[in-house]
């Protein structure tokens, strides 16, 4: 019986790969010239419309900011869903971050004894530096490469460094899962309010509220970058800290 089943599965794989290959070849191998209409418009008007010199940030937080909101929602739903699915299983590793109290004493013993000196020194010292770099990437998104998401993930790795390296007595509140969940929820609410603010000043949903007024329009992109960065950083930090099962 096993032989027959293996042959069937091999045939199915071969058939599926052949069908996909036949369909996808024209698209992958076409050498049709790449359209330049969007690039030309953005080169001419990108900076004037959104105020951001980094055109990718101009698109990503200006012209197509709704896609970014969708992306932030996917991240939020994925984090809360992943934690929900893991926490319900009540696994020892997962017990550390159940919905109720997340105090530091429930870390499973298996993780505690394997802490080497290297982890203490490196992560303890590197944590703040990585956090500062994350904030820089987040806040200068409209000038240099980077922005909300990238800065947020670097901040998340900073939070993980702090959570790993903190000694028993002087741990900051930043590494407690409850605190991170609060920052994430507050960040998401303020992102929605920032998006809706465009309606109040008449430039429409996700429009730039400062377009009419004196302040340079780029500050709207900086605000969006900051809010998304905090939300993403807290969200991914929350997931990583939860997955580590609350190391001391």
């Amino acid at each position: 019986m096993m032989k027959r089943q293996r042959v069937i599965s091999f045939l199915q794989t071969f058939l599926a790969l052949g069908a996909v290959l036949a369909v996808v070849i024209p698209v992958f191998l076409s050498d049709f010239p790449w359209p330049t209409s969007a690039r030309d418009y953005l080169e001419a008007h990108g900076v004037a419309d959104s105020g951001a010199r980094n055109l990718v940030s101009a698109i990503y937080l200006g012209y197509r900011a709704f896609d970014t909101l969708g992306e932030t929602i996917v991240l939020l739903v994925a984090v809360s869903g992943t934690i929900g699915i893991i926490a319900q299983s009540g696994v020892s590793l997962a017990r550390g971050f159940g919905e109720e109290a997340l105090d530091r004493k429930t870390a499973s013993p298996r993780l505690r004894h394997r802490r080497t000196e290297l982890i203490d020194v490196v992560t303890g010292k590197l944590g703040p530096i990585v956090l500062i770099f994350g904030l820089y990437v987040m806040l200068f998104g409209h000038l240099s490469p980077g922005g909300g998401f990238q800065g947020g993930v670097v901040i998340a790795s900073g939070i993980v460094f702090i959570a790993l390296g903190s000694k028993n007595e002087d741990s900051t509140r930043l590494q407690e899962a409850g605190m991170l969940a609060r920052i994430e929820a507050a960040g998401f609410l303020s992102l929605i309010l920032a998006a809706l603010s465009g309606m109040v000043t008449g430039s429409g949903f996700f429009g730039n509220p400062l377009a009419g007024m004196g302040a340079s329009p780029v500050s709207y992109i900086v605000i969006l970058n900051a809010v998304i960065g905090l939300k993403v950083g807290a969200g991914i930090g929350f997931m990583c800290v939860a997955m580590m099962g609350r190391v001391e």
Binding site: P26, Y41, R182
Partner: protein, 582 residues
């Protein structure tokens, strides 16, 4: 608050509500948390009805509001369109979501996390209905998908995680193919919105040739997998059967229809669209018949309902595909599209009703097997349901799906067969009607009183009672089914004016709903159903059904059917665009 802002309300209000729900989960406990969560749910599910009411006169007059999100430049920005089709699909989404949430208050999953994800799913439904930008459609489908994977997995049943995992892997892979299709179309035209892509393709020699056809088939196949048409339905039965009841109602009622109508926006505009619509119409008719035959063979009640969802969506896609092939602005095409939407709306109502009532009964009896569960009617009465709301609601749902006159199924199936008359699809749908009646007689046996040699009557577990919110939502859906049936012609005229705009007066409606000819047809279907049911309960019948149930369904089969469906669609488009042949 200019008109474009109110038009977008069904999208951003549920997101705001979800943000409130997540804040309630993170910040507050106890009564304050509940208060903030329900405030978010009211903002998310209550207020958008006002926006719909505001939008009605605008779309009734045939106008359509097309905006660029945030008044940015159209070539790069995101275009949204609020027209009759958008209004109707949002109405469909919100009505089923509200009824399902009321049911969830009573018996379904609870908690701020669930409310937040449910609201985000509703927002994604509304956004998918209104977007006319291809990459934004990708993001909306991903948001809708990820919300539904988690909601399916929330039911903690052993099979639920396997069902959610298969659903996730197949949809995620399909969305990567969608990206390749989007790449092909962006490469040819440099535009992101449907109109921009269509104009770009038309200015190219041969409408962009083979690359355009292949890219369109990639996009259509990726969206069609969420609609569960014939070759691509493998993931649906497990996901819908094992999800919590409220989520099964929303999944079957709305989540397989919104991508279909979003796809109709693409196929109405792009040059090779009508051909793709024609093929999907044929696949829809085959789905209607095949779905019913597999449903007849099922043992598990909710899996039987899930296969019926596939068969009923086959009805909708059959008419929808034919409408696109003829062009929605021709009178015949408009009649077909109206019949398709009418059946989609009515199916959402009666299928949601069936999922909720069967869910309540099987939860109470603790038994989901059609052959073992008996005497559920008595059990419901003993469980403190003085007024048999669940029983009556189930009967109305079963009559509606078998197209018995007073109820809405009859009205929409009459419209379907009138619009499709004379085509082979109509024959398939007629046979599928017989199968539906037979399987619902079989399903309703769980309510029949116990006979001597039947298995022990169902006893509800101690202490389980039926929550008033559960009864309210079931009663609400049952009333909507009845109202839809009685007001059939009126509602189909309303839907036609919304969809057609200028072509509506010329389009013909089924002349007289309760005409002798229609009633004769219904009698025939009912008789055929009873005969088929008797045949099915004979010895060879049971053997055949056991065979159908045991057919191998592996994880690999999902992907193989997806790739073959994809290759079939691109071959069909290729040969259709070469009428001369070589």
């Amino acid at each position: 608050m200019k008109p474009p802002d109110i038009m977008m309300a069904p999208v951003y209000l549920p997101i705001l509500g979800a943000a409130l729900a997540f804040c309630a989960k993170a910040f507050f406990q106890g009564r304050l948390g509940k208060g903030v969560e329900y405030a978010g749910v009211f903002v998310g599910l209550g207020l958008p009805w006002l926006a719909l009411a505001w939008g009605l006169p605008l779309v009734l007059s045939g106008e359509a509001l097309q905006i660029v999100m945030g008044n940015w430049f159209g070539g790069v920005g995101i275009l949204y369109r609020f027209d009759g089709l958008g209004w109707l699909v949002i109405l469909l989404g919100y009505s089923v979501a509200t009824a399902a949430y009321i049911y969830a208050l009573g018996a379904g999953p609870r908690g701020p996390g669930f409310s937040g994800i449910f609201l985000i799913q509703t927002a994604a439904l509304a956004a998918t209905a209104m977007t006319v930008d291809l990459f934004n459609l990708f993001v909306c489908l991903e948001v809708m998908g990820i919300a539904s994977y988690i909601l399916v997995a929330k039911s903690e049943k052993p099979g639920a995680f396997l069902a959610a995992f298969s659903y996730l892997m197949v949809s995620a892979t399909a969305m990567v193919f969608f990206l390749i299709g989007f790449f092909g179309l962006y490469r040819l035209t440099g535009a992101l919105s449907y109109q921009g892509i269509a104009e770009g393709l038309r200015s190219l020699p041969e409408n962009g040739g083979i690359i355009a056809l292949v890219s369109l088939s990639l996009v259509v196949a990726a969206v069609a997998i969420r609609v569960a048409v014939m070759p691509l339905y493998g993931w649906l039965p497990d996901a819908h059967a094992l999800a919590p009841h409220a989520i099964s109602a929303v999944l079957s009622g709305v989540l397989i229809k919104t991508p279909l109508f979003a796809l109709s926006r693409i196929l109405m505009v792009l040059p090779a669209g009508p051909e793709a619509g024609r093929l999907m119409g044929y696949a829809g008719a085959v789905t209607a018949l095949a779905g019913v035959t597999i449903a007849l063979a099922q043992k598990d009640t909710k899996r039987l309902l899930a296969y019926h969802s596939i068969s009923q969506i086959g009805y909708v896609v059959a008419a929808w595909g034919a409408a696109l092939a003829l062009g929605v602005h021709t009178p015949a095409g408009l009649a077909l599209m109206t019949a398709a939407f009418l059946h989609a709306l009515y199916h959402a109502l009666f299928k949601g009703l069936l999922f909720l009532t069967i869910g309540t009964t099987t939860d109470l009896a603790g038994e989901r097997d059609v052959y073992l569960l008996r005497g559920a009617a008595g059990m419901l009465r003993r469980a403190g349901e003085k007024v048999p709301v669940t029983l009556v609601s189930f009967i109305m749902g079963a009559l509606a799906i078998s197209a018995i006159p007073p109820l809405n199924g009859y009205a929409s199936k009459a419209a379907l067969s009138y619009a499709l008359k004379g085509t082979w699809q109509d024959g398939f749908l007629f046979l599928a009607g017989i199968g539906t009646t037979a399987s619902f007689i079989k399903l309703s046996r769980i309510y029949w009183p116990v006979r001597k040699r039947a298995p022990a009557p169902a006893e509800s577990a101690a202490g389980k009672t039926i929550h008033p919110a559960v009864q309210f939502s079931q009663g609400l859906l049952a009333l909507l089914c009845l109202a839809g049936g009685l007001a059939g012609p009126l509602l189909s005229r309303f839907v036609m004016t919304l969809l057609g705009g200028d072509a509506s007066p010329a389009a013909s409606l089924p002349p007289q709903l309760f005409s002798l000819q229609n009633l004769q047809k219904t009698g025939l279907v009912a008789a055929g159903g009873i005969i088929l049911f008797l045949l099915a309960s004979t010895k060879p019948g049971k053997g055949l059904m056991h065979l159908i149930r045991r057919r191998p369904r592996g994880f690999q089969g999902l992907f193989l059917s997806f790739t073959l469906g994809l290759a079939g669609l691109s071959l069909w488009l290729f040969f259709q665009s070469r009428p001369v042949g070589w």
